[in-house]
Symmetry: C3
Subunit: 279 residues, 3 copies
């Protein structure tokens, strides 16, 4: 990234959290808000952003002044998911580098998803535009998702030689049943916001021009519900699945780490990075 | 309640069950029918009604002459759920009284829900109008629900400082997926009959003017299916979830009993009873 | 069956599998295809067909040249399910014969369903027309189902004195929630392709005249996804439910074997065979 780009996306933060590029962390009334802010890169997640979101979720969990946590994004995209340049090492021929990368990425992924599982406040997603990969899969760990009519949902694991993460192999069958889960996670169909709603992955679809006003109003309303009830009821509902979710996250991370070392994955990532370099 | 009101709602019953105000228990052909009959109080459930419904469900389970069990209601409401005057004690300042009330209510609730879990016949709900609180949550333990187009479904736990019951924290995620379950159980959205159908909480929606004729026809048809198959297949399908449901009922009752002692609950119930008294 | 009929439906097969009447087994590019071919009998399943499908699924699992497995059917029906003449013994008065039949049928059913549970490739169902009984219930073990608009889905267990199989008592509540599962499995409602889609049992509905072209295109596309990813991701997603599914299959087979010995079942099968003989 060039300097101009970096300064545009320099992060803002709150007390107790380090600022990282591409992420704004704010409190707005009773709302703790995490905003992806790397629009030129379609809000793809760098390792720094994974770590900072995880820390923000943990801080928000214990925050006394806010009652709900919101994840939103700037620009036309919600998030392109994992920034594949995180995997640049995997595109070279050096096996040792690839194994080192897989080891690091597995820890980053594992801790990122665990932070969603253990979050103790209602978590609301504002999906303004296209969402890809892990930006889709973790939605199954949210409590409420509003999508704009420009949002799409795509989990292209197989063409990239990868496997499902974010506990989606557990949450998606619960949200939409096993057959529709396979449509997304095995066969990698991209779906619209309306389809995502009918599949239980989204609660509401709102036209883009009304998206900001509507989501502001909704999160304000939600944040006014008695806070102890919100946190206790959220934690109670999560408790029925928590141990299972931690276990699934382990299984998924073990599997995807082996996939990152596969020829299918190597070939796909190499081709992707070559295409990106040409642009 | 005044005397006139009480006589209007004096219960009818069948051999082996005590009559209680506000409840009619009848056999109609092969149908065992429990009818909420306290329309001036929106069919809110008194402690007596909880106990009598529980006993009726248990009797119906073993009844040789009927093959299905139906719960219906008189008047424009299905049921306002728990009668908050059951909690009158909690609105005063006397901590000991509140704790005594919570102890009693927890046992009543626990046994009421257990009776649904262990019921051995297909259980059909006829939701003529608005349903609130526990009148909604236990629907996840039914086998078939017909709603009129006047029915609405509302579980306002959080504003009352309470937590989900009726095994809804388990059944709702299974019925509609975790995100839509949170919409109802965390954020307390009131939904229409059509939405409830799309959320899997209702099988059919029928215009109110056709409701009586249609539901009569349907329950007659269902009651003609070979009775051994009905009971064995119902019991088999329940068996896959039974132990989990009993466990969830325990967890939910423990949690709600602590909520009844909370300041959030005390304030909400006090305000509610003050408003009711002014009417 | 007369000779003409038998020759029309003489099976074709691939190396390593015995041909049986009523079943075609082929490889088409990267697709392993099992086609029901007994149209005059509505593609009802004989004991031979159960065994051959099971063997074909196991062979396809390990097949190096194909990446997906497809089950399709010839003629206007998908499949009438279990051929009730398999149960002819049960219609007589000889208790010993009935018990012997139940013992054999239970093993056939158990092994048939286990082969679906352990299948290691994505399994796609092409439901051209009406599907009945076990041809419906096992769909919950598929990964993708395309239905024509002529397809219907019917599981008339109770009127035949039987109980659900094919792991449907587990998969159907997961696909459509417990209430809609009961609509099919307890109350035996026949549903349309569109309803089946809204219930999560079908991914796509296609007009019959476009069915062949559309399904060919779709399965070709799916078969081009990197094969290791397809198999690994399918196996991973199944792994989260596999032990439970084997257990449910046991429970269901034990239950249905007792139902085959019931008076309700005997009377229903006797009546069915009498009606068939009159035609």
């Amino acid at each position: 990234e060039d300097v101009a780009n970096a300064s545009e996306t320099a992060g803002t933060t709150v007390d107790g959290l380090k600022a990282v590029d591409g992420l704004n962390i704010t409190r707005e009334g009773k709302v703790f808000k995490i905003t992806l802010n790397r629009p030129k890169k379609f809000n793809a997640l760098t390792f720094d952003m994974y770590g900072a979101i995880q820390n923000a979720l943990d801080l928000a969990s214990k925050d006394k002044t806010t009652s709900i946590t919101v994840i939103a994004a700037n620009g036309p995209y919600f998030s392109a998911g994992n920034d594949l340049t995180n995997f640049e090492a995997a595109s070279g021929g050096d096996r040792e580098k690839v194994e080192e990368m897989a080891k690091v990425a597995k820890v980053v992924l594992h801790e990122y998803v665990d932070a969603y599982i253990r979050h103790e406040k209602p978590l609301i997603g504002l999906v303004n535009g296209p969402a890809v990969g892990i930006a889709v899969t973790v939605l199954g760990l949210f409590d409420y998702v509003i999508a704009s009519d420009r949002a799409t949902f795509h989990t292209p694991f197989a063409p990239l030689g990868q496997s499902p993460e974010g506990c989606s192999s557990y949450t998606f069958p619960l949200l939409m049943g096993p057959l529709k889960a396979s449509e997304l996670l095995l066969f990698c169909k991209k779906i619209s916001a309306e389809t995502a709603k009918s599949y239980g992955l989204v609660n509401e679809v709102v036209p883009l021009q009304e998206f900001h006003a509507h989501t502001q109003k909704t999160i304000e309303e939600f944040s006014e519900i008695p806070p102890e009830s919100l946190s206790i009821n959220k934690t109670h509902m999560r408790s029925l699945h928590r141990e299972k979710l931690f276990e699934i996250n382990n299984v998924e991370c073990d599997l995807i780490a082996t996939r990152w070392l596969s020829k299918e994955c190597h070939d796909a990532v190499t081709a992707f990075i070559a295409r990106s370099a040409q642009k």
